[in-house]
């Protein structure tokens, strides 16, 4: 199996940076949709390990950076929910063209999962996606406040319009608050990753939904941990699910 290679993904703005994990099988291709900010950085290694595990089963995988993030050009503040979704579509088109695959599977973590819901694909894997974006923004503001209080105990007015230091415009916040994610894909694996296997209220409506396979993993949220987390249970679950859908 060849190792991953860097690729340039054509997109409506500027080419995006990607890492292609090539494999021999041509029937299915996978695109991994990352989250943002610290969550993206912290999950970087896990994305690599997941991509390698799937490629070892003969399925090509693409990891990529949204415009204005990672190694892709542009500024973070130039983005919107639509441009991020467009980036996923660009990565998907590139992957189908590059591999000659007939079917596409998207894997999305956190906001990457929520964004993947807006894109067409044959199979969809969601890792702890934000189905209640308004609640996420509220929690994020609370977390930012705590972070700033820890850094500067005298801090009274910690900035709110940001995710881990990345600025969010009022327009972006408004569009995120108005988001009403739905799962209308016919073949979806929804994975809850939490301290408990009890189904959260956020995912309860989807547990019995036709076409959605729900799994709850008791696992540390690796996207927000500084230390190493054993993500093998999630990697194995996802790899097996995708292999079974070849």
């Amino acid at each position: 199996m060849a190792g991953p290679e860097s690729v340039s993904i054509p997109s409506p703005r500027e080419p995006l940076f990607g890492m292609l994990h090539p494999a021999e099988c041509g029937s299915l291709a996978v695109v991994m949709c990352p989250p943002l900010a610290e969550e993206k950085k912290t999950s970087y290694r896990m994305f690599y390990e997941q991509a390698e595990a799937i490629a070892a089963k003969g399925i090509s995988v693409l990891r990529f950076d949204y415009f204005g993030t990672g190694d892709s050009p542009g500024g973070f503040e130039e983005n919107s929910l639509d441009t991020w979704s467009d980036d996923i579509r660009a990565a998907s088109e590139f992957m189908l063209s590059e591999t000659g695959a007939e079917k596409l599977c998207l894997i999305g973590l956190r906001l990457g999962g929520t964004l993947a819901l807006t894109c067409r694909c044959d199979h969809l894997v969601l890792w702890q996606p934000m189905m209640d974006v308004k609640a996420y923004l509220k929690a994020n503001a609370q977390r930012q406040y705590i972070r700033h209080r820890l850094i500067d105990s005298d801090s009274e007015g910690a900035p709110r319009m940001e995710i881990d230091g990345y600025p969010l415009s009022e327009g972006l916040i408004r569009s995120m608050e108005e988001m009403k994610p739905v799962i209308d894909h016919r073949d979806c694996l929804l994975v809850q990753i939490s301290y408990t296997e009890k189904v959260s209220a956020e995912y309860l409506p989807y547990r019995e939904q036709s076409g959605v396979e729900f799994k709850a993993l008791r696992m540390e949220p690796f996207w927000s941990r500084i230390g190493r987390v054993d993500t093998n249970p999630l990697i194995n679950l996802t790899t097996d699910w995708i292999r079974d859908h070849l």
Partner: protein, 86 residues
């Protein structure tokens, strides 16, 4: 819900939510949580959410204080004050 019961619930929540490699009864009431369990902002946020969900209280910004999370006793004292439990 009495005072001891609150402390037990807090210890269970801390171990469960922070994935600690320790038993709830290993946490002393006066143990300095930040130092002993490496509480960073992410873990502190987990504890805030855990307390809010567990006891049905809202820790609003005006009363948020790092000192509340100094140890199990300080958290229990805060919960008691919010729930008006003797």
């Amino acid at each position: 819900m009495n005072g001891e019961n609150i402390k037990e619930k807090i210890k269970d929540m801390i171990v469960e939510r922070l994935f600690l490699d320790a038993a709830p009864e290993d946490i002393g009431d006066e143990d300095p949580l930040a130092e002993k369990y490496e509480i960073d902002s992410v873990r502190l946020f987990e504890m805030v959410i855990g307390i809010e969900e567990l006891f049905g209280v809202i820790i609003d910004e005006a009363e948020f204080d790092i000192g509340l999370f100094k140890n199990v006793n300080s958290i229990a004292e805060y919960v008691r004050s919010k729930k008006d439990i003797a």
